[in-house]
Symmetry: C2
C-alpha cells in the first residue's frame, strides 16, 4: 500500500469509496451505475449467501428461479406497487441488432420492436404471482415457501458502490399461505432470520421494527425491517420482510379452495436482503487503516506472513508455516499463506490490514528458535506472542473473541448514539451535532412524518417491535402520542 | 399421476416437454421464451452447480460478478464476436416509465432514452475484458482465473425448456495468461473438468473434441467441446472451452509488462456450461415412466413410502421409517419420507417414478414383522426385499450401482449408435434411419461442411481429441482426407 486512506473524520464518504476499491471488494464498471464485484468481495458475499441459504432451507424454504423480465402491464396490476416500482427501470424495447446499412457499426433493428416492452425486474412479486396462479389450487398446495437468488435493476440516479447501484444481487423470498395469521408468522420468522444473521454473523446489532406507512414497501400491508447504525451516525436499512395481505393474490387472481371447499384469496409475504449488506458491514466496523471483517464471514480468517532473514531461512520458515496452517485448516479455519519473498513484511502487514483479515500471524527465524509466533488481531491491533503449541485452539478462541468484540463495540456505539429527546430544538440539535438514532414522540400521521423529513432530512427508521407504550407529545405538532419511534438520517 | 406420458416412440419431442413439466423441473412463464425453474429443477441445478464450483475452486479459480448490461459499442470491438452475438439480443433503450397522460396505465417515458443502448449480456467477454484492462499491468497480475455464475439472454426464436430459452443460467470462466501455451493448457484443463463432471456426476458419457472452424465460438482461435448422445440419436453439445488467443486483449487493449520489461498482449480463454445440461440429463437417461436421475446429483436419492393397513398401523410404521431414514442421512443420503396417509401407495409410486428418485423403499405391517423392506430401483425397475439390518450400507452401495449402471447403459448406447461409413449413400442412410454419431472422412474445407449441412442437416460435432489419423476420401467430394470426424444431427 503506497498511500494511506482518507480518514473517516476527513471525509466519511470518500473514506468509504476508497476502502471499497482498495480493499478489493468492488470496482466501477463501464456501465453507468453498475459495479463489478471483485473476487474478494464476491467471496465475502458467498459466505453471507451460503449461511442465509442454509437458514432459509432450515426454515422450510426451497429455491427456484423466475424470469429476469417482467411484461410492462404486470407492474400496473397492483395499484400501490405501480407507484413504487414503475419509475426508474431498465426497459427492453427491441430484440435485435443489425449492421448499420451506412457502415457505422451496429444499430438497433427498428423492425424488431417488442409488442409489449419488458422491464428488467426491480423486484419479482408480479412475475411470481402470475406463476403462482398456476401452481395454487387447493389448501394442499399451501404454504408455498420459495426463495430466489437473483440480480435486480433499479435505475438509480445517484449511485454508491454496494449501497445503491443500478444492478445488485439479492435474494427475494415469496411465500403463499392459507391464512393471514400464518403469513404474518412467516413475515416475523424471516425478520428473525435476518436479525440473527446480522447479529451473529455480521456482528451488526440491529433494531427490529415496523415501518411507518410512508416507508412501507409498495404493495405491502405491513413492512418489518432491521435497522443498523453506521459509524457516521446514519442509519441503514439492512433487510425487510413484508406482509402483503391478499394484495397480489387479488391482482393476479390467485385463489385456493379451503378444506371446507370455499374459495379464498391467498395470503402473501415477501422478504429480501441484498449486496447492500456488504456496504453496511464495511461502514459499521472498518477503520482508517482499512476493512475490518467479522471472522465468521471473512473470506480469509488468518494470514501467515513470514519474516525471512535472507534466502537461506525460507525453506524452514515456509515448512513451519505450512505445518501450522494445516493444523488450523483442520479446525475449519480459512487460511492464507503469503510466502512471496519479493515483498517486504511491512508492506504485507499494511495490505492485509487494508483487506481486514481478522488475524495475522508473523513468524521469523527468532520465533522458530523460541517455538513462538507473533499474533496480531485486526480489530484492536493488539499484538501478542503465542507458543506454537496448541496454536490452533488459541486461534479458534481468538477468532471467536474478535467476532464478539466487533458486536459489542458496535452495540456500545449504538447505545451511546441513541438519544431520547422531548423538544423540537433537542431533536434538531441531536440530528445536526450528535447524529445517530433519535427516539422521539410522533403523532402518528403521515403528514407530520413528511414535514419532519422536509425540515430535517430525518425519516422514521422504524417503530421498534415490543415498543414501550408511553404517553407523550409529538415533537413537531405537540399532538398526543402513545409511543416513541426511532428517527435518523439514513442511507 | 392420472395420465401416462406420451412415449418416446410416439413423439420424442412431446415426451420431453411433458416430462419437464410433470417431473416438476420447470414451467413456462408469462414472458415469451423464458422459463421458470421450479424448486425440484433448481435443487438439481444446485447440486450440479455446487460440484462444478468446487472443481473450479480446486483448479485455482475465484468467482466474481460483472454487470448484466453491455454497452452496444462493446459488441463491435472484436470483429468475429460482433457477427456471432450482435444479433438476437434484448436491447435496453430507456430507463424510465411514467403514467400515461391519457390515463391508460403506464408508458415508457420518451424523454428517458439512453444515449447508448445497453444489451443484456448474451455472454460477457467484452464487459469483462474492458474491466481486465484496469486489473492487468504486469506479469505479476497473471494468470487471472475468474469465473462468474450468471443469467444470460439470447433472443431465440424457437425455444424449448432448458434446451433453448431466451434467458438461461450458466457459468462463464474468463481467464488471462502470460503465454499462449499456458492459455491452451487452461482451455484443455477446463474441458477435462467438464468431461469428468458429465461422466462422473451426470453419468453422461461425452466425446472430447475440437470444433471445425464453422462451429467455432465467435472470437475464438479454437473451440474445445464435449458432445453427448441423446436417446433419439441426436447429439447435444454439453459444454465448450475456448482458446481466445489475443483477440479480446487486442480489442480492449489489454497489455502486460513481461519479466523482461517488454509489453505484450494478454492471452485469453473462456468456458461455460449452462442449465442446458439439465435438458441433456433428462434426454439421456429418462424413460416412458418419467425422469431417471443419477444418484450423485438427484435432489432426493431415496424416498420412503409406507404401506399403511388402517390408521392403527401408522405410528409404528412411521417410527420405523424415521429410524431408517436417520441412519441413511447419517451416511449422507438425501432422503424424503412421504408419511401422508391420504394418498394411495400406488399413486405415490407413480409420482416418484415420474420424479426419477433413484431408490424407493416401501414398508408395510408385514415387512415390520419380518424386519425387512421392499427396495425398488428406478433405473431398472427391479425390486428386491432387503433386511432392515445394515440397510444403510446396502442402500449406499445400491446408489453407487445405479450411478454406474446409468453411465454404462448410456455408453453402450453410444457405442452401438456410432457408425463408421465410407460412402455418401451410407452416410445419408445412417443419418435418416439409424441416427446417432456418424464417423466419416471430410476434406477439411468449410465449403464441404456447409454443403453437407445443407443436404442432410448434419453438422460436424467435433474432431475427437487424440483422433486416429488415417488416409481416406471425403464422403461428399471424394477429396483426400487425413482423419474421420464425427457428424450428427444435433440439438
Amino acid at each position: 500500500m503506497s498511500k494511506t486512506l482518507t480518514t473517516r473524520k476527513q471525509d466519511y464518504s470518500q473514506w468509504y469509496n476508497e476502502l471499497i476499491l482498495r480493499g478489493g471488494l468492488a470496482d466501477h464498471s463501464a456501465v453507468r451505475g453498475c459495479m463489478v464485484i471483485k473476487p474478494y468481495g464476491y467471496a465475502l458475499w458467498e459466505n453471507m449467501r451460503d449461511e442465509l441459504d442454509r437458514q432459509f432451507k432450515a426454515t422450510g424454504h426451497q429455491n427456484a428461479y423466475f424470469p429476469l423480465f417482467i411484461p410492462k402491464s404486470f407492474l400496473s396490476k397492483e395499484a400501490a406497487h405501480v407507484d413504487g416500482f414503475a419509475k426508474e427501470c431498465a426497459v427492453v424495447t427491441h430484440y435485435r441488432l443489425k449492421n448499420d446499412p451506412n457502415g457505422k457499426g451496429i444499430i438497433v433493428d427498428p423492425e424488431a420492436k417488442l409488442e409489449e416492452e419488458l422491464i428488467v425486474r426491480p423486484t419479482s412479486e408480479t412475475i411470481i404471482w402470475s406463476t403462482y396462479k398456476n401452481w395454487i389450487q387447493s389448501y394442499r398446495d399451501l404454504p408455498l415457501l420459495i426463495n430466489q437468488w437473483a440480480n435486480v435493476v433499479r435505475w438509480e440516479m445517484r449511485t454508491r458502490l454496494f449501497l445503491r447501484t443500478a444492478e445488485f444481487l439479492w435474494q427475494e423470498g415469496h411465500t403463499a399461505h392459507a391464512s393471514k395469521e400464518e403469513a404474518i408468522e412467516e413475515t416475523e420468522r424471516m425478520l428473525d432470520v435476518y436479525a440473527n444473521f446480522a447479529e451473529e454473523y455480521m456482528a451488526l446489532p440491529v433494531i427490529r421494527g415496523i415501518k411507518s406507512p410512508n416507508e412501507r414497501f409498495a404493495g405491502a400491508e405491513e413492512t418489518y425491517c432491521i435497522e443498523a447504525l453506521m459509524q457516521d451516525g446514519k442509519a441503514l436499512q439492512a433487510g425487510t420482510s413484508h406482509f402483503l395481505g391478499q394484495n397480489f393474490a387479488k391482482a393476479f387472481d390467485v385463489k385456493f379452495s379451503t378444506k371446507d371447499n370455499t374459495e379464498e384469496y391467498v395470503w402473501a409475504t415477501s422478504w429480501g436482503v441484498s449486496t447492500r449488506l456488504i456496504g453496511a458491514l464495511v461502514m459499521a466496523h472498518s477503520d482508517d487503516e482499512g476493512l475490518v471483517l467479522p471472522p465468521k464471514i471473512a473470506p480469509i480468517q488468518v494470514v501467515f506472513v513470514p519474516i525471512y532473514k535472507g534466502p537461506d531461512s525460507k525453506p524452514a520458515i515456509d515448512a513451519k508455516i505450512k505445518e501450522l496452517a494445516k493444523q488450523l485448516q483442520a479446525k475449519g479455519v480459512r487460511v492464507k499463506m503469503d510466502l512471496d519473498d519479493a515483498a517486504r513484511p511491512g508492506w504485507k502487514f499494511a495490505e492485509y490490514e487494508m483487506q481486514g483479515i481478522p488475524v495475522r500471524i508473523a513468524l521469523g527465524a527468532r520465533d522458530m528458535e523460541n517455538n513462538q509466533v507473533e499474533v496480531a488481531r485486526r480489530d484492536t491491533k493488539e499484538k501478542q506472542v503465542m507458543s506454537m503449541d496448541n496454536l490452533d485452539s488459541h486461534i479458534v478462541d481468538l477468532l471467536s473473541a474478535i467476532q464478539n468484540n466487533l458486536f459489542d463495540r458496535a452495540q456500545q456505539f449504538r447505545t451511546a448514539m441513541t438519544t431520547e429527546v422531548t423538544t423540537w430544538e433537542e431533536f434538531v440539535d441531536v440530528l445536526d451535532n450528535k447524529t445517530g438514532f433519535v427516539s422521539a414522540h410522533w403523532d402518528g400521521t403521515p403528514e407530520t412524518e413528511e414535514k419532519i423529513k422536509e425540515l430535517t432530512k430525518a425519516t422514521i427508521r422504524c417503530i421498534p417491535l415490543n415498543n414501550k407504550l408511553e404517553a407523550g407529545k409529538c415533537i413537531l405538532t405537540g399532538n398526543p402520542s402513545t409511543q416513541r419511534v426511532l428517527f435518523a438520517r439514513a442511507y
